[in-house]
């Protein structure tokens, strides 16, 4: 748990306790660089942090991901350091995948559920050592993680504020890192981790990302954040490095078919309505569930739901005719019966297709896969153009790039 420095006296304490009122949005360790680059002054709140929605141009930022190198600040991502002799056993009980199979200096994508098998969040688990892990996710979970620690010899420490994170994604990302002096990074296979010296400390680089492209994620202590940024920026100049905001990243992640908690599904802790919670199998995460490994939270409920066929939803990728994004459109079967909802949709610049992620109510998406339609309302100068467009279930990712996995990556 994070220690709190005790206040000097009661008045100071009260003042300190309300400082958040004066700082409505926290600044990330990279804020000084982002604000200098921001031409649009377009910000949003990411878990209470001021984060760029876009910096100069959404489309050009997107093409930095696909054509050169895009630098994206992921510091607001919630990060927990989990360590101790029982860390592996603890995480194996907490999360769906078998942590025993996760090697040191490896990352895997996973998710975790409550006792009823309802997903609390998804995220990436980094194994930094035999007994040391980092869990990265969208939502905060300290109370759940601490309660889960009962009976385990494990230390849980939230390090969201202490650790700064950057994603460097795109075809020239490896070349940029090499130019910055991180030699050896080219040997990292997808989901590998390595540490490199930076200034007086180290930077942890993993070959991971949210874009389905060649890319890396870098973590350093807060104090070294700006110098790391500058090092990459300098090295990336000739490799077309661009800083990007969330809008561009979101386009890339939809192409990659990745889901976002509380966008594509409602997490069990955020859901107010009883029918909004989701089991892994209902949001496309069935492949994470490992019934062979030791017991984990939600196991019984998930397996029971499979056995009794009580799963109610399914998450699918859709390809929709036309070129108007079907965001939040209702999905119909036979143009009449409601079958689900689109949670994310774009015209994919790389796939050149109109794509979407949708949640369907079973048996749609399981038994009835044809004759699906989406109803798109396009508001154009205060008038809705209503369209009923044919939708086809297609596999995700929508965009598959050979360079994502090629090791060593090509030098562009």
């Amino acid at each position: 748990m994070n220690a709190m420095t005790p206040p000097l006296n009661a008045t100071d304490g009260r003042r300190a306790a309300r400082s958040h009122i004066e700082t409505p949005r926290l600044e990330t360790p990279f804020h000084a660089r982002l604000i200098a680059l921001s031409e649009t002054n377009d910000w949003y709140s990411w878990s209470g942090y001021k984060a760029p929605h876009k910096l100069f141009d959404e489309e050009l930022e997107y093409f930095a991901i696909r054509s050169t190198a895009a630098l994206f600040d992921i510091s607001p991502m919630v990060k927990y350091r989990i360590s101790g002799p029982d860390a592996e056993r603890y995480l194996n009980r907490l999360t769906l995948r078998d942590v025993r199979k996760l090697g040191i200096n490896r990352v895997h994508y996973t998710a975790w559920c409550d006792d009823h098998g309802h997903v609390l969040d998804d995220g990436t688990l980094f194994r930094l050592g035999e007994d040391t892990f980092r869990l990265c996710c969208q939502e905060r979970h300290l109370p759940w993680l601490l309660d889960s620690a009962f009976g385990f010899s494990v230390d849980i420490h939230e390090e969201t504020e202490e650790i700064a994170g950057l994603a460097l994604q795109g075809p020239t990302s490896c070349a940029t890192l090499l130019a910055a002096g991180f030699s050896g990074v080219e040997r990292l296979k997808p989901f590998d981790i390595a540490s490199f010296p930076h200034e007086a400390g180290t930077v942890t680089i993993s070959r991971t990302g949210f874009t389905s492209d060649l890319g890396y994620e870098l973590f350093v202590s807060r104090a070294l954040a700006l110098s790391l940024w500058d090092r990459l920026w300098q090295a990336g100049k000739l490799h077309g490095i661009r800083a990007i905001g969330y809008a561009a990243l979101n386009t890339a992640r939809i192409e990659a078919g990745f889901i976002v908690a509380n966008t594509d599904f409602i997490t069990a802790e955020a859901a107010l309505r009883a029918d909004r919670v989701r089991m892994p199998d209902e949001i496309g995460l069935d492949w994470l569930v490992d019934p062979e490994k030791p017991n984990f939270n939600g196991r019984k409920a998930i397996l029971e739901a499979r056995r009794n066929q009580t799963l109610k939803h399914i998450l699918v990728g859709l390809e929709i005719e036309g070129n108007i994004p079907a965001e939040h459109a209702i999905v119909y079967h036979g143009k009449k019966r409601e079958a689900g909802l689109v949670t994310a949709a774009i015209w994919s610049p790389t796939a050149k297709r109109n794509i979407a992620i949708a949640t369907l109510d079973r048996p749609y998406g399981v038994k009835f896969n044809d004759d699906l339609w989406v109803e798109i309302y396009a508001l154009r100068e205060l008038r809705y153009q209503k369209m009923m467009k044919r939708a086809r279930i297609v596999p995700r990712p929508f965009v598959k790039l050979a360079r994502r996995t090629l090791t060593p990556p090509g030098t562009f």
């Binding site: 409550d114 006792d115 009823h116 309660d147 009962f150 030791p294 017991n295 939600g298």
Partner: protein
């Protein structure tokens, strides 16, 4: 349920804990032909009814000092005979005025109050017994499961409904009004007399962390009135041979059913893998396999100590850790060189139950400090003289006194180590006020606080009911939602102690119900 008769298994079922509930469960399972092993950590079976010598020549028969809810179906079914020729009267003393003495089952006749007041008491009692009778229908069955209400549950609901209608709409309405009231408001509605009010306030709250004015405190009185003696609700007795005869009766029933009881055998771990229990590992490392494990121990012992936390869900563990199970009752055993004499109390009434409580307000004020982790400086208590029913407990001519004293919180702010002598002195001074001269006849006094009870009886919190018996921990929430109805999230592992439905006291119901549930083969 997995087949009981597979020859490869040495035991069909292992029962952890030889309290009377563990023994009742074992006896019932054994009687059906199952091979049953009971494992008990202490050197003797009996659980909270484990007796001991607390002073040379003086024995205590255990924590429980009288019976008021031993279930007749349980004893009949298991062939247990525990009877008494005399019903115990209850005397309420305030150390000054004439005692109020209730005879028969909860005051069939009352000495020391006006005829009007006695009639008012009977009116209230009959109403409460009627209402308790509605709840009683739920005691002998597993509590209904949310989302899986079966025919039998519906039948119970229906019979409860009919029970209400039979008495007319007004009674039904009154039940729904009163159910979650506090006992003080109900007593005020019916009664005038201080000590009658004090008695119902005391009986409603004994063993529960509530004062008479706390919301829902009436439930405790209902619970008491669901108990019966010789077919009459609300009475109490000490069987022939005294309370020392109770544990042996259960042991005999178990042994007759072929059950093997191993004492001095502490279970260290319940073996479970991916939601299925398969045996136990003893503290000394020995592993014993069985397809059915019955935990007749405190639910926290079962799931926070014996089952690997990795085998439980975080939410389940959290709810068990949040179980309210801090005991409030201290047990005093006193060795006396002669039979004491309480002020104005007839000699024959000394063999009954003696309650020291002046008024409802005293009970309430005794509770107040307990809220803040302090003991009562003016406590209320229930006294029995056990050696009058069982001469073997004391040398001839001498006497033992047992008192259950409220309120003594499990976690005392000042720490029991330092404060126990003071609390003991307060209790003994109280005794002296009610029985002048008793101090001089004291040979030894042994006080067990809830902390002592926790240590001596392997009982987390030292709680009477293995967990508060309050609205949030009853029926489908006893001990907690996911482990109610005797089944648990772990297949093959069942709960059968006072921590399970319907709760504590010497009733045998949790154990017997659990065994019946297992035998019914109901899926978890």
């Amino acid at each position: 349920m997995t087949s009981f008769d597979s020859a490869s298994k040495a035991y069909d079922a292992i029962v952890i804990g030889a309290g009377h509930n563990g023994l009742a469960a074992a006896a019932k399972l054994g009687a059906s032909g199952r091979k049953v092993l009971v494992l008990e950590a202490a050197n003797e079976p009996g659980g909270a009814m484990r007796g001991r010598e607390f002073a040379p020549g003086f024995r205590s028969a255990g924590l429980a000092h009288l019976i008021n809810r031993l279930d007749p179906d349980v004893t009949r079914d298991l062939g247990i005979r525990l009877t008494s020729s005399t019903a115990m009267p209850t005397s309420v003393l305030d150390g000054d005025k004439q005692p109020v003495v209730l005879h028969g089952a909860y005051g069939d006749s009352i000495d020391g109050v006006s005829a009007d007041e006695a009639a008012a008491f009977i009116r209230m009692r009959d109403k409460l017994i009627f209402q308790a009778g509605i709840l009683k229908r739920f005691l002998r069955r597993a509590s209904p499961q949310l989302g899986a209400i079966g025919m039998a549950d519906l039948a119970t609901f229906a019979s409860a409904g009919f029970g209400l209608i039979r008495k007319g709409r007004g009674e039904g309405r009154d039940f729904l009004r009163m159910m979650l009231m506090n006992v003080a408001d109900v007593a005020d509605e019916y009664l005038e007399h201080d000590r009658l009010k004090a008695l119902v306030a005391f009986d409603a709250t004994l063993g529960i962390h509530l004062g008479p004015r706390s919301p829902t405190s009436l439930l405790g009185l209902y619970y008491r009135l669901t108990g019966e003696v010789a077919g009459r609700a609300g009475g109490q007795f000490i069987p022939e041979g005294g309370m020392s005869a109770v544990a042996p009766a259960f042991i005999k029933a178990a042994e007759k059913a072929g059950v093997i009881i191993r004492c001095g055998t502490s279970v260290g771990r319940i073996v479970a893998d991916r939601g299925r229990a398969s045996g136990v590992i003893l503290a000394d490392g020995q592993e014993i396999a069985a397809p059915v494990i019955v935990a007749a121990v405190h639910p926290q012992t079962a799931f926070l100590q014996l089952v690997d936390p990795a085998e439980s869900g975080t939410g389940f563990t959290r709810s068990l850790r949040n179980l309210r199970t801090a005991g409030n009752v201290a047990k005093l055993d006193v060795a006396l060189d002669r039979i004491p004499s309480f002020l104005n109390l007839r000699p024959s009434d000394h063999a009954g139950r003696i309650v020291l409580a002046r008024s409802m307000e005293q009970v309430e004020r005794a509770f107040n400090p307990a809220k803040y982790g302090e003991f009562s400086t003016d406590p209320v208590m229930e006294i029995v003289l056990p050696s009058l029913a069982d001469a073997s407990l004391a040398p001839s001519g001498a006497c033992t006194l047992s008192a259950l004293v409220q309120y003594a919180p499990h976690k005392l702010k000042m720490g029991w180590e330092a404060s126990k002598p003071l609390f003991l002195k307060i209790i003994l001074d109280t005794l002296e006020r009610h029985a002048p001269g008793i101090s001089k006849s004291i040979v030894a006094a042994h006080l067990s606080t809830p902390a002592d009870i926790e240590a001596d009886y392997n009982l987390p919190g030292g709680h009477w009911h293995h967990g508060e018996l309050q609205a949030d921990q009853l029926l489908i929430n006893r001990p907690t939602g996911a482990a109610s109805g005797y089944t648990t999230p772990i297949e093959g592992l069942y709960l059968a102690s006072a921590g399970a439905h319907p709760g504590g006291g010497i009733s045998g119901l949790p154990g017997w119900n659990a065994a019946r549930h297992i035998l019914s083969g109901a899926r978890p």
